[in-house]
């Protein structure tokens, strides 16, 4: 437990990090640093399916390949998705805040 917490705090310690969510393979958010439950749910609902799509794509192109990391850059945020094993780690960062 403490391992997880320490990792989360470490990730959150980076500049511009808005939130961190851990989602299991069924789309259930296990741990979130967002205060709003709705926001967590939305991310947990939407992003893993996108990651799955991306993984499908990568594996379609080369069946021996696999998705390592997915970064989604939007106007406001960058959503970093690390999907491995049975979990998905979402980190939402504001790159503008990060780079200044």
């Amino acid at each position: 437990m403490s391992d997880i917490e320490s990792t989360l705090t470490r990730i959150q310690g980076h500049k511009g990090v808005i939130g961190v969510i851990i989602v299991n393979n069924q789309g259930v958010p296990l741990r979130s640093t967002f205060e709003h439950d709705a926001m967590t749910k939305q991310y947990a609902d939407l992003i893993p399916s996108l990651a799955d799509l991306a993984r499908n794509l990568v594996r379609d192109l080369d069946p021996q390949n696999d998705l390592e990391f997915l970064r989604i850059r939007s106007h406001k945020h960058e959503i970093m998705v690390a999907a491995k094993d049975d979990f998905v780690l979402l980190v939402i960062q504001d790159p503008n805040a990060a780079s200044t």
Binding site: N24, D45, R71
Partner: protein, 1096 residues
């Protein structure tokens, strides 16, 4: 076999018949098999059970007759047969065989289409048979065989049957009876033997097969038996005689008893040529009447059929001899050969009930006149109006189909389903609704608390992916990957001074001057029209000194503000006339048709261009038309009734009534000097081309009594606020479009605030033309005091437009002071001190005071030879430039680059200072004119900063002291900010702040040090003086002593060195020198302690 037979002949119907089969079979096995073959077919019909008669020539004949049943080949045979009649006639059989062979051969030679196969088969064998026949074998069997062989050729031979054409049969042929059955249709002739279970022939009961030697044959007289003649009757006596004669060796001996017992007379012996029974015997004898009858019947039948065949053949031949038309054709019954299937397939059969269509017409419509029906040619119809079904182009055949790019994205299929359920039947709506899956807190906690090593542990997962995420985050922190490096490169190139000349050079785009209005006048203020592109307003004032002005004081000197449009560099678009020279003016930023100006005498004028806007638009259109001059102009006249230009422009002179008031007299008194937005012909213009320039007179003029008393030097509109009479400021709502107030500052130390809504001052019930009586007074007044306690000679105003409601503003003065003041009147004070601070910034008048467009608290001031940057609330400038060579006349910030400012000086140059580049000298210095530049103004920028940066050009309007307005186009590097310029400028300002703070922090220490140094200096001076005095005294003593003869040692030395000067002079000089030396030493601190001591 059967097949071959079928195809071989025309009559396929009879294919199953016996004769046909042997017909083909016999050729296969020429001689010996003949009987076999004949036997085989007999089995099939099973018709030969009781044929006993062994010998008969009928069989062959029959075979042939059968074969030729339909053929016409028959006649010869038949005749042959007829002629032969008797069984033993060798020639007839021979003849018969020959034709048969001939037939076969003929057939072989030129077989008909259908007979080809059979013919081929038959070819050889008949020949053999014929040979056999010729061989004189009298065996009837053989003859039958041959006949059979011939029979096979029958069908095919029908056409060319009569190679030896017989003479046509006698005409008197009896017609065949109606119920005549053709021979070939009759049942086959039974065989003359029986067959056992295995199908082998066995003699009939009562028949004995026996072997007769040639001797026996000769003895009993059986010679000549053979094919076609195979039976012979012998009496019992002959046989018994032979037995008796020859005894035991007689061939008949074994059957003596049977012969004796035979129940008929004479006995029949049949030639068994082929050894049908396979027992090696060549004859057989019927010993009972029954068997003999069978044989006889067979023989008779054979004979009769032979005859019938001949008859038939005769009929056929007769028929054939008839002309074709007379022939009787036999209708053959139809036989299925499989064609019905084809027919079935080819036939069309309706699949549904036919449609029933009833066409009806009303009775009364029959025979109506007028309905003329006529035939027309197709080509006429095709295009005529009667053609109801016109040809048209079907776009389907015209349309070109291009290849289509279609992309499909696989997504989980969405399905909309609805169900309506009742009661407790399972899918209840409440059950079918779902919500997001979630785990209970315990489950989550359990998952989260799984140890790292365990499978499916969140901690383990995090450990694996943490680095990935962190790398990404750090990357974001370090670099902005979406930065456009190429764009930045471009910026750097600009900053580096590269690029073409055009990109780095300040170039003059256009210049304007007008002979009457601006030539040799000073461009004292420039304003870009905020709502129109490419239009600049310029206020021109006489280039007069203050003294000259004083001399002319009291006399009105109409001055003008010119509106220059880039489209016309010769003629101003509009001229605004003012009773006094205007030194400051500004357009209302939110209602650009309103503009106010401050005059030399302290009054404020207002123009309203709203009535001109349409006119200007039309004029722009008309200008293209050409007609410039025209109308009446009164040369030099001050008065004009309705201006020619106004006339030509199709306008009423004024919407507010006739304008007959001479402007020059009406002006200067009170407000609304009659102009009221009217346009006058600029009759004073000397050039004809100027005739059309519309002149707009002011609409309102402030009351002199309540106005400034000295020249108005600056004027600023205050958008978004409401100022009350009590000096209270209320901020209007965000995005308010109201801008009704402006502030003016003048040299009399007052800042006045005006409400532009003059009409509001009118009392109710008064009419518009009574505006004349309205006194336009300032709504609020702020009095500022200078450092020396006099009225502040204000020159410039700078408000913070973002925080207008806080009331703080800067003002500059003629004496170089910078006043930081609050224009909000505090409660309860009658004459409050509005100024918060008053600092001596410059030596000369402050000629520019402008807030940075990027930093709210940064203010640029410029006066004399220096410019300074101030930060709000600081008592010392953040930065002060070095002193320039020429007197500055104008300054402003760049509207797009935070670190750039522009300064104009007396020598006609414009300096561009890029503080990020260097701050000790201007980055660029451009000399524009030989005359002093008097004013600078940038064209208005789009509201948003980014849009401003992207704007295609940035123009700087520069006005000089000779009335020329120059529009300078600024290069790209001055227009576009370098990357992060605002941030860099912020850092620069911070550095300056730090420097100031540092200086301030050192101030006490340095002051103390200075003080100490000064004290020490004073001390030393005092000491030196004392010493000098002491020396003087000593010198005097010495002199006295010298006079007394004892020189002091020092003096001695000096005297030794130098030549003795004249005593008086020497002494004086010496003392001076010593004094200086002492002071110097004291200053340097080199004074020896003993000296100090001695001084005391």
């Amino acid at each position: 076999m059967g097949e071959a037979a079928e195809e071989s002949g025309a009559p396929p119907v009879e294919d199953g018949d016996v004769p046909a089969a042997p017909a083909t079979a016999s050729p296969d096995e020429p001689a010996a098999a003949g009987v076999d073959d004949a036997g085989e077919p007999a089995q099939e019909p099973g018709a030969s059970s009781e044929s006993a008669a062994p010998a008969d020539g009928g069989a062959p004949v029959e075979g042939s007759a059968e074969g030729g049943g339909e053929a016409t080949s028959g006649p010869v045979d038949g005749e042959g047969g007829d002629a032969a009649g008797a069984p033993d006639g060798a020639p007839p059989p021979d003849g018969e065989a020959a034709p048969a062979a001939a037939e076969g051969e003929g057939e072989g030679g030129d077989a008909g289409a259908g007979a080809a196969e059979a013919a081929g088969d038959a070819e050889g064998p008949p020949g053999e048979e014929a040979a056999e026949g010729e061989g004189g074998e009298a065996a009837g069997d053989e003859g039958g065989e041959g006949g059979e062989g011939a029979a096979e050729g029958e069908g095919a031979a029908e056409e060319e049957a009569p190679p030896p054409p017989p003479p046509p049969p006698p005409v008197e042929l009896e017609p065949l009876p109606e119920d005549y059955v053709p021979v070939r249709d009759r049942p086959p002739i039974p065989e003359p033997f029986l067959r056992n279970e295995e199908g082998k022939p066995v003699p009939l009961p009562g028949v004995e097969s026996l072997f007769l030697t040639g001797t026996t044959v000769d003895l009993v007289g059986l010679q000549g038996l053979g094919p076609g003649n195979i039976t012979r009757e012998l009496t019992r006596e002959v046989l018994l005689g032979d037995i008796q004669f020859r005894g035991a060796i007689s061939d008949f001996h074994a059957y003596k008893a049977k012969i004796q017992a035979a129940d008929y007379e004479p006995l029949i012996i049949r030639f068994n040529e082929d050894d049908v029974y396979g027992d090696g015997n060549n004859y057989e004898i019927a010993l009972t009447a029954e068997a003999a009858n069978v044989w006889k019947a067979i023989a008779e039948e054979t004979e009769s059929r032979k005859r019938l065949l001949e008859l038939e053949a005769a009929h056929v031949a007769a028929e054939k001899a008839k002309p074709r038309s007379k022939r009787v054709r036999k209708v053959k019954p139809w036989v299925s050969m499989g064609s019905e299937v084809d027919i079935e397939e080819a036939s069309v059969r309706p699949r549904r009930e036919p449609i029933r269509l009833v066409v009806q017409r009303k009775r009364r419509e029959f025979h109506q006149p007028g309905a003329k029906l006529a035939d027309k040619d197709a080509h006429e119809l095709w295009n005529s109006s009667q053609m109801e079904c016109r040809p048209f182009k079907d776009p389907n055949f015209d349309m070109r189909r291009m290849e289509q790019d279609v992309a499909v994205q696989a997504v989980a299929p969405l399905r909309d389903a609805a169900c309506q359920s009742t009661g407790a039947i399972p899918p209840r709506p409440a059950v079918t609704q779902t919500e997001a899956l979630d785990l209970g807190p315990e489950a989550k906690a359990e998952l989260l608390s799984k140890p790292v090593a365990e499978r499916g542990s969140v901690a383990g997962f995090l450990e694996r992916v943490r680095d990935l995420a962190e790398v990404a985050m750090v990357q974001n922190e370090i670099t902005n990957i979406f930065r456009d490096d190429l764009a930045a490169l471009n910026d750097e190139a600009d900053g580096g001074g590269g690029g073409s000349r055009k990109e780095t050079l300040v170039s003059e785009a256009q210049s304007f001057t007008h002979l009457t209005f601006s030539k040799n006048k000073v461009v004292s203020a420039i304003q870009w029209l905020p709502h129109r592109k490419g239009v600049v307003a310029v206020a021109c004032t006489e280039a007069q000194s203050h003294a000259e002005r004083v001399a002319r004081m009291g006399r009105t000197s109409p001055a003008h503000i010119l509106l220059w449009n880039f489209r016309d560099p010769i003629h101003p678009e509009l001229v605004l006339q003012s009773p006094w020279e205007v030194f400051a003016f500004q357009f209302n930023p939110l209602h650009p048709d309103l503009l106010t100006g401050g005059c030399y005498n302290g009054q404020v004028v207002m123009w309203d261009l709203s009535s001109e806007a349409d006119r200007l638009g039309r004029r722009a259109a008309a200008a293209a038309g050409g007609g410039k001059a025209g109308g009446v102009t009164e040369a030099g006249g001050a008065v004009s009734t309705s201006g020619a230009a106004a006339d030509r422009l199709g306008g009423s002179v004024s919407a507010k009534g006739p304008d007959l008031t001479p402007p020059s007299t009406a002006m200067g008194t009170t407000l609304g000097a009659g102009g009221l937005g009217a346009t006058e012909a600029a009759s004073s213009s000397s050039a004809d081309g100027d005739a059309h320039i519309p002149v707009v007179k002011h609409r309102f003029l402030t009351d002199t009594q309540f106005s400034h008393h000295q020249v108005v030097t600056d004027l600023q509109w205050l958008p978004g606020v409401e100022i009350s009479h009590r000096g209270k400021v209320t901020k209007l709502g965000e995005g308010s479009k109201e801008c009704n107030f402006f502030a003016t500052i003048a040299a009399d130390g007052k800042v006045l605030f005006w409400d532009v809504r003059v009409e509001k001052l009118l009392k109710k019930g008064k009419k518009a033309d009574e505006l004349l009586d309205v006194v336009w007074k300032p709504i609020h007044s702020v009095h500022l005091i200078s450092l020396i306690g006099m009225d502040l000679g204000g020159t410039r105003l700078a408000f913070d437009f973002k925080r207008l409601d806080q009331g703080m503003f800067y003002a500059g003065s003629f004496d170089g002071e910078l006043v930081y003041a609050d224009f909000i009147k505090p409660e309860g004070e009658e004459n409050p001190d509005y100024a918060k601070s008053c600092l001596q910034a410059h030596v000369g008048p402050v000629i520019a005071l402008e807030r940075s467009p990027f930093f709210d608290d940064i203010v640029l001031t410029c006066g004399d030879w220096q410019w300074q940057i101030w930060q709000e609330g600081q008592a010392t400038p953040l930065f002060a430039s070095g002193y320039a060579q020429d007197y500055y006349t104008a300054a402003c910030w760049s509207p797009t680059r935070p670190a750039v400012l522009y300064l104009a000086d007396q020598s006609g140059s414009v300096e561009v200072w890029d503080l990020l580049d260097r701050s000790h000298e201007p980055s660029i210095r451009v000399t524009l004119a030989a005359t002093p530049i008097m004013s600078l103004a940038f064209n208005p920028m789009p509201a948003s900063a980014s849009a401003a940066q992207q704007a295609a050009q940035q123009l700087l309007a520069v006005g000089d002291a000779t009335g020329v307005l120059r529009i300078m186009e600024l290069p790209r590097n001055l227009r576009r900010p370098v990357h992060n310029e605002k941030k860099l400028m912020g850092a620069w300002l911070e550095r300056q702040q730090a420097r100031l703070a540092d200086v301030a922090a050192r101030q006490p220490a340095r002051g103390a040090a200075r003080k100490e140094a000064e004290e020490r200096k004073k001390e030393a001076e005092a000491m030196a003086l004392a010493e000098a005095a002491a020396r003087e005294a000593a010198a005097k003593d010495a002199a006295a002593a010298a006079a007394a003869g004892i020189p002091p040692p020092q003096a001695d030395r000096r005297e030794k060195k130098g030549a003795p000067p004249p005593p008086e002079f020497d002494e004086k000089a010496e003392q001076e020198y010593l004094k200086l030396e002492a002071r110097f030493k004291a200053q340097l601190g080199l004074l020896p302690p003993e000296a100090n001591g001695s001084a005391h």
